[in-house]
């Protein structure tokens, strides 16, 4: 088991190196002088010279790369050309908002998707199974922004039951030290803030979580059906176990495995989807930061946010793979 985790960790290293090379190339292969390109309209001879020095542009290319990696390892992700703020600082203040959103979306996707998938599998080939299939087909094919805008229209514009955008109502004054609004408000015993923040979270989380929800529903259904046809399930029934026991112990214990893997893979989709969702719902997270940065041609921000998102995605998948091994004795005792 330890061996497996170590091997899995080792496999992540080349990917991280490759990733840093690709993103290094992203900046250094910009047309023209990278320093001037990064600074864009903010370029003055002084600033270009400073940027050239920061990027080690006068050194050989491999030294430029080493400088980039060394900066990363020291937590230096560069500064935004727009406001001269360190990117890591901006990132860390916004990231909690993105985490809150993606976690809520994931909870929604898993919490609804797995029961729905089990339900569909149990009623396979019936009309309710068909309904679940159609809903999940829709879920996969509605772009986040179309669903987000539709939800806004129905629940905010027409029914007026939920706020359309933002994280917190302007009338509520609340200083969130970590920017995890839900946690900070609970710590500060500001339940009005907690409720309002939660209400703001509902629509974006549903919009963002729908694709993973549909995928998790599908894979759960397929996996449960698959496992239900396994010989060992028949053995379990032949042993005279109750249906409930066959279901929980023999079917679900195995059906979980592919579902867990797929849940891990959805994290990537969620992070990417957050970029769009945050744009639709004016959610002050990293996603909007990136979109603003693209429009401002703030290349270093784009570069490093992509790097961090990819890093988070790799870590999550690492955790999921280890969890998978833990659930699956064939790997645990390999």
């Amino acid at each position: 088991m330890t061996k497996y985790i170590l091997r899995r960790l080792l496999l992540t290293i080349p990917v991280l190196i490759g990733l840093s090379i690709v993103l290094f190339a992203f900046i250094h292969l910009l047309p023209g002088d990278p320093a001037a390109a990064i600074l864009g309209q903010h370029a003055t001879p002084d600033r270009v010279a400073a940027m050239r020095e920061y990027l080690h542009l006068d050194d050989p290319i491999w030294q430029q790369y080493l400088a980039y990696v060394s900066n990363l390892l020291h937590g230096d992700f560069g500064t935004s050309v727009i406001n001269n703020q360190p990117i890591i600082h901006e990132f860390l203040t916004r990231f909690p908002a993105t985490i809150e959103l993606t976690l809520a979306a994931m909870l929604y996707a898993v919490g609804v998707g797995i029961p729905l998938g089990r339900f569909a599998a149990r009623h396979a080939q019936s009309w309710s199974d068909g309904a679940v299939t159609i809903v999940s087909l829709l879920g996969i094919n509605i772009p986040v922004f179309v669903l987000g805008l539709t939800l806004q229209y129905i629940f905010a514009v027409q029914l007026k039951v939920l706020p359309a955008s933002g994280r917190l109502d302007f009338s509520l004054r609340f200083d969130s030290p970590t920017n995890f609004l839900l946690i900070d408000s609970l710590v500060a015993r500001r339940f009005d803030v907690f409720v309002d923040a939660a209400r703001h979270l509902v629509l974006p989380a549903i919009a963002l979580g729908s694709i993973p929800l549909a995928i998790i529903t599908r894979i759960t259904r397929a996996s449960v059906l698959d496992v239900s046809n396994e010989d060992y399930v028949r053995t379990a029934r032949a042993k005279g176990l109750t249906d409930g026991r066959v279901d929980s112990r023999h079917i679900m214990r195995n059906a979980w495995l592919p579902v867990v893997t797929v849940i891990g893979l959805q994290v990537g989709g969620l992070l990417a989807g957050a970029v769009i969702t945050e744009t639709v719902f004016a959610w002050g997270g990293v996603g909007r930061y990136v979109v603003d940065a693209i429009n401002n041609r703030d290349y270093q921000v784009v570069q490093n946010v992509i790097l961090i998102f990819a890093f988070v995605f790799l870590i999550v998948n690492l955790i999921v793979d280890v969890g998978y091994a833990f659930l699956n004795p064939r790997i645990r005792y390999a």
């Binding site: 094919n141 805008l149 769009i276 693209i294 990819a310 995605f313």
Partner: protein, 298 residues
């Protein structure tokens, strides 16, 4: 010939098997109702794209501000947009952009990913290791984020968008083709072909690629659905074609978000167009998967 048998039965089975994978697959596909629905959706989408200039009631740029945001009905079946242009016309022309960008990006992705996958799976060794690490790196950048980065890097423009979306698909195609080739390389009939001394290139082209093709066809069909959504997503983020007059579905949506209250049809109708096209390719892809691989059928 053994006695207790009708000689002809054996031949009947032989004849049936040789009817061909493709014809059998077609027959199964045409009996698959969801796939037929998908084909219908795709048909509508392609028809709109190809015949937009003929069937559109107005020109794509034709309209005056006086006519802006007219609700659906009357002279404008789908209403008019913020510039007073006919929304139905814009959506029909938008199908051209979507179809072009979707198909081109999938073809590009297939070529890049296909070559990488064929090299990795066909040659193995260090070529395989290197290419697969590259694929790992590309897949570690989640979905549309890679496309965003590429468009940010290469600047806005339809070819850039196609390339960006292609690069999100290419690693997936590469993995599928490589995986399929690897499993085939260990299959009995390839071993058999090797044992009678068939040259490697011939084994790859005649015995392995045709068998891997089915997996790629399915993946490409499904990729068309994501490509359409991703192109629209880039458009929505403001990374669409640089000419703001281009009728691109995602860009059309962005322009209208501020007027959700006043003109919701400007959101729903292009949105519906995206969803229907994507569902079409998704249904067809699933149908193809089932009909090309009879073992999957349940």
């Amino acid at each position: 010939m053994a006695a207790p048998a009708i000689p002809a039965t054996g031949r009947a089975i032989e004849v049936r098997a040789s009817r061909g994978l493709w014809r059998d697959a077609m027959r199964r596909l045409l009996r698959n109702k969801p796939a037929l629905l998908g084909l219908l959706f795709i048909g509508i989408f392609v028809f709109a794209a190809v015949f937009a200039p003929l069937i559109a009631p107005y020109g794509p740029l034709e309209g005056t501000l006086v006519q802006r945001m007219k609700p659906p009905g009357g002279a404008h079946l789908f209403g008019t947009d913020l510039q007073g242009r006919d929304e139905l016309t814009r959506i029909l022309y938008g199908a051209q952009v979507s179809l072009l960008a979707g198909v081109a990006s999938v073809i590009m992705g297939l070529s890049i990913g296909g070559i990488a996958g064929a090299l990795a799976g066909g040659l193995g060794g260090w070529v395989d290791s290197v290419l697969m690490r590259v694929v790992d790196v590309m897949l570690s950048i989640p979905g549309i984020l890679l496309a965003i980065g590429i468009v940010a890097w290469l600047d806005r423009g339809l070819p850039q968008i196609m390339f960006a979306v292609a690069m999100t698909n290419a690693p997936i195609f590469a993995r599928i083709l490589r995986g399929s080739l690897l499993s085939l390389r260990n299959s009995d009939y390839v071993t058999a072909a090797q044992s009678i001394g068939a040259p490697p290139s011939r084994i790859l082209l005649r015995h392995m690629l045709p068998n891997s093709l089915t997996a790629l066809i399915v993946a490409a069909t499904l990729a068309l659905a994501t490509a359409i959504i991703d192109v629209a997503g880039l458009g929505f983020l403001g990374l669409g074609p640089p000419d703001p007059r281009t009728p691109e579905w995602g860009t059309m949506l962005t322009d209208s978000t501020k007027f959700l209250r006043q003109a919701p049809w400007l959101i729903f109708l292009p949105g519906l167009a995206i969803v229907i096209s994507a569902i079409g390719f998704n249904l067809l892809g699933d149908g193809l998967r089932e009909s090309l691989d009879p073992r999957l059928k349940r």
